[in-house]
Symmetry: C2
Subunit: 421 residues, 2 copies
């Protein structure tokens, strides 16, 4: 009897979870390794950073996802090395795993284009820890401003700068502006929070460059309406403590967030496989890594041109599709071998673009789907519906709905607490 | 024209909030100082520590409580000194406040009876930070146990010890036992979490000594039923890293919690007023501090024998009553002076005992009220109703209800995430 093939999955993100779930009924043993004990619903991370949701509402324990799926073992540990020749994965916890199939879905981290020293002064937004840090910076700045006698210092405390005009940047800037204008309006006695400044800085000539011009224009107009100072065509020259240097303008700010770039974790450079400039693993159209038919990359860490020649975007639906595709390839193969039918011809991955969206403050959004474009309240309702629908766990869905309902009707925020540790 | 009297309130706990609210319509200026930006619903803190609730669900921003009450200014800062002669309060943030009336409601902290070095190995449960630390210790221990080859080490990782058989200790021990037996039951592949051990150690001959014997007996029986090893008449000799030394028995445990004592913060010793052995400020029956008619202490930091000769207990209803009493005294006085009627005779505080309760796991509790005693499911329903009722903020109430509803019907936990910072 053949031994059961061992599938090692790195990362419990959208791709990793879908891959494991889709192998539910296949004769494989799966080990899912993640350094956190929870899956993070990253599209809503900006809500934690802007005090709209509690961390627990967008995080779900990975173990409980696979409570009933006996062929999955969850390991909370950090991957330290992958040896493609020996077919082993090692961890910082000192464990080693021998794999028959490997799927790498470790995601990406904040990237500073070679200016890593900016990280200290302008955190990115990729983890719950990042989100809590940004929330703390934001809320503490207002606390300090309330008792600040120096006008320049007070202005700095009441200024936020978001670098990067992609979806995360747009969503964060919108949320920061709303907090100042609505949520905190009557909370303070000395400062007028509606005088707070929010800058959104983007190097390209327009926001949300993945969309067509009119959606970018709409987004810029909406953000401007709720008080965001949008600066396009603007390069960041330097970031220092409390300072964003734009060359011809220097903005002092107590709350600087970097949403301008991501890069793959360093481990991809050590694999000895082809990677792109951002360190992403370049995969074939079956999502396997060139020269290693049993090794796959998926989600944001994969650089993939699909069967139709489309560059697959770094979005959660794409990651989920990739995870399911890899499960299909592995599943077909192990079944084929088990039934003595040999290796089947591998299916090629084709990205199915359901559309994408970004929200702009409390009741506006932009969305595209199948050539259609949506803006305003209807797009915001679509966004709301889709995001709540995809949140893992019914309880989380209800809790988030509740928070949003109250946030909407009462211009309040559910998680406006400052915590350390 | 007289200047408006300035009331400085130290601490945004139950006493401080009630005091400020009750002075809503009085001609005073109030400054409320707290080192946190949120009020904490401390009776439910054990639920955060045991992964039942998210931190944000039991915390509420103090500013938003007083959004509409214009005579309250909220200051987020830590009190560093009080000068009763100069009538000033200074803070670590370098501010100084001159008061006409001062109300001290700074609460108590975990106390180790002179063994402060135990704190490192056995955290107490007084803040959200404590609660997150305990949650992390608990959940990480199971993660490590799943991959531990050494049997003794694995046993240690799957053992929790709670020191102190008061309400917090009873509630924590019950929750730890439930997590092991129900919540995590199917999450792991190698370990059987139902084999986890939970010890509850109490120096007195029985648990919950504030109640009569039969309730203590009931509590002990219920805890034993859900798998807690209750050790009464048992003194802790020493606590080291991962070890609780009971003299004739040494328990190795990865999750040790100290719930055996509290003491007043050090600042009470510097006031130059009478304090008790635990550092609590001894107050007169009008709740003022002897020799300082304009200085009051309230809540857990006050040592108070009320008008009827009853020692007021350290419970939230008592703290709220004290806060309202002080508001009445101050309010009457400033009105009397303003109307030219001089100083009225001060009312004496009388504690109104509505009863108290402690929960034991998922559907049992003990409660006493007006000489009546309740146990079991009915007591648990009372506990549920009263605690949800008193949670500040309607949204929090609904969110907590929801979490509990799901926890009850699905033996799940809402906040089982491990986070750092």
């Amino acid at each position: 009897m053949e031994k059961t093939p061992h599938v090692v999955v790195l990362g419990g993100g959208f791709a990793g979870l879908e891959l494991c779930k889709a192998l539910r009924d296949r004769p494989v043993q799966i080990t899912l390794i993640d350094r956190q004990n929870h899956h993070l619903f990253q599209p809503l991370l900006y809500q934690v950073a802007s005090a709209g949701l509690a961390a627990a509402e967008i995080a779900h324990p990975i173990r409980s996802v696979f409570k009933k799926q006996q062929n999955v073992s969850v390991v909370m540990d950090e991957v330290s090395g992958v040896d493609l020749a020996e077919q082993t994965v090692s961890t910082t916890g000192g464990r080693e795993f021998q794999y028959d199939y490997l799927a790498i879905g470790l995601g990406v981290k904040t990237g500073y284009f070679g200016n890593d020293h900016w990280a200290e002064f302008a955190p990115g937004l990729k983890s719950l820890k990042d989100a809590r840090l940004i929330r703390r910076n934001l809320l503490l700045a207002y606390e300090k401003a309330e008792h600040c006698e120096d006008e320049a210092e007070r202005k700095k405390l009441m200024t936020s700068v978001v670098v990067g005009g992609g979806p995360t940047g747009v969503e964060l800037a919108g949320a920061f502006a709303e907090i100042a204008r609505d949520v905190l309006k009557n909370d303070f006695r000395k400062i007028d929070t509606t005088e707070a400044k929010v800058y959104l800085v983007e190097a390209a000539p327009r926001l949300l460059t993945m969309y067509e011009d009119d959606l970018s224009d709409y987004t810029r107009k909406k953000l401007t309406d709720i008080g965001v100072d949008v600066k396009v065509d603007t390069m960041v020259k330097d970031i220092r403590e409390g300072v964003v240097d734009l060359g011809d303008e220097v903005i002092e700010s107590a709350n600087i967030v970097w949403a301008a770039g991501v890069e793959a974790p360093a481990i991809t450079k050590e694999l000895g496989v082809e990677i792109d400039r951002g360190g992403r693993i370049i995969v074939d159209t079956d999502l396997s890594v060139s020269g290693h038919k049993n090794v796959f990359a998926m989600g944001d860490i994969a650089h993939c041109i699909d069967q139709a020649g489309v560059r697959v975007p770094g979005l959660s639906p794409a990651a989920m599709q990739m995870g399911r595709h890899i499960a299909k390839v592995i599943g077909d193969e192990v079944l084929g071998i088990k039934l003595g039918q040999g290796y089947p011809v591998r299916k090629q991955f084709r990205y199915f673009d359901k559309g994408s969206m970004a929200t702009i403050g409390r009741s506006a959004a932009v969305a595209t789907s199948k050539g259609l474009k949506f803006t305003g309240f209807i797009a915001w309702l679509m966004w709301l519906f889709i995001h709540v629908l995809f949140l893992i766990g019914f309880r989380n869905r209800l809790a988030v709905m509740l928070q949003w309902f109250f946030a909407y009707v009462r211009t309040q925020r559910g998680s406006r607490i400052i915590t350390w540790g």
